[in-house]
């Protein structure tokens, strides 16, 4: 005996109109998020690399040969 609350296959389509809107928003978010992560990680690494190069080229190398 089926009650009114039991779902039937006719009432659960794979996509509804609401899903269509969510897909577009999701695509927009997925476009932006990796970019933001890339900028953050890239900035952090760039600062470290610049600091390393500055100390290496301006302080270490001028101090001369060692071995």
């Amino acid at each position: 005996m089926m009650s009114a609350n039991d779902p039937s296959t006719a009432e659960v389509p794979s996509e509804t109109a609401a899903d269509q809107v969510d897909e577009a928003a999701l695509a927009q978010v997925m476009r932006v998020v990796p970019l933001g992560a890339g900028v953050l990680a890239g900035t952090a690494v760039a600062l470290l690399v610049i600091g390393y190069l500055a100390i290496y080229l301006l302080i270490f190398l001028p101090r001369g040969a060692v071995g």
Partner: protein
């Protein structure tokens, strides 16, 4: 449809990760290349001398007997500094070196592990009992440099330091035995 979108998202994420990995790979290769390049062209290497010596008999005879310590100039003009690092002093406490000439510094210790660096230069090495630490460099400016012990060697470690006196080449005059002592001031 959403499965295709999910796949496209996965591909984009993979592409971003591969791009990042490539960028980091380039950075690592560049740093390694710089290190190899300066080692080959500018003679900058980590001190890696491996030479054994008996720490128990340093003071008795041989290269690090007390009368051999300090700066000496060989017959070919090469400058060699021999010093002992011990708890808690360097012997000799003042080391005279010439400016602008290659200097070889050799250290040994009879007791525990010490380390030393010379401020304003790239001289930086450990001194391990049983081994001779050797560093060569060229001092580029005159003046008094500090050479502290930088490896904890006991309670007196913070007071363990020596002075390196870099003198102009025309003031660097070895005596009859080829030895040079610090200028007394």
């Amino acid at each position: 449809m959403s499965e295709q979108h999910a796949e496209a998202h996965e591909r984009r994420i993979l592409g971003t990760e591969l791009l990042w990995a490539f960028g980091v790979g380039v950075l690592v290769a560049a740093v390694l290349g710089m290190i190899v390049f300066t080692a080959l062209t500018r003679n900058i290497n980590p001190p890696s001398n491996v030479e054994h010596i008996d720490p128990k008999t340093l003071h008795l005879s041989g290269e690090f007997a007390e009368q051999n310590l300090g700066t000496s100039v060989g017959v070919d003009g090469s400058v060699t500094v021999r010093a002992i690092a011990t708890q808690f002093m360097f012997v000799p406490h003042c080391i005279a070196v010439p400016r602008g000439r290659p200097v070889t510094l050799r250290f040994a210790t009879p007791d525990v592990i010490h380390g030393l660096l010379i401020t304003g230069t790239n001289v930086n090495t450990m001194v391990v009992p049983g081994f001779v630490a050797q560093v060569y460099t060229t001092f580029t400016s005159t003046g008094d440099l500090l050479m502290p012990c930088h490896e904890y060697c006991g309670l007196g470690h913070s007071e363990m330091w020596a002075t390196v006196q870099v003198v102009p080449d025309n003031d660097f005059k070895p005596d009859r035995d080829g030895r040079v002592a610090c200028a007394q001031r």
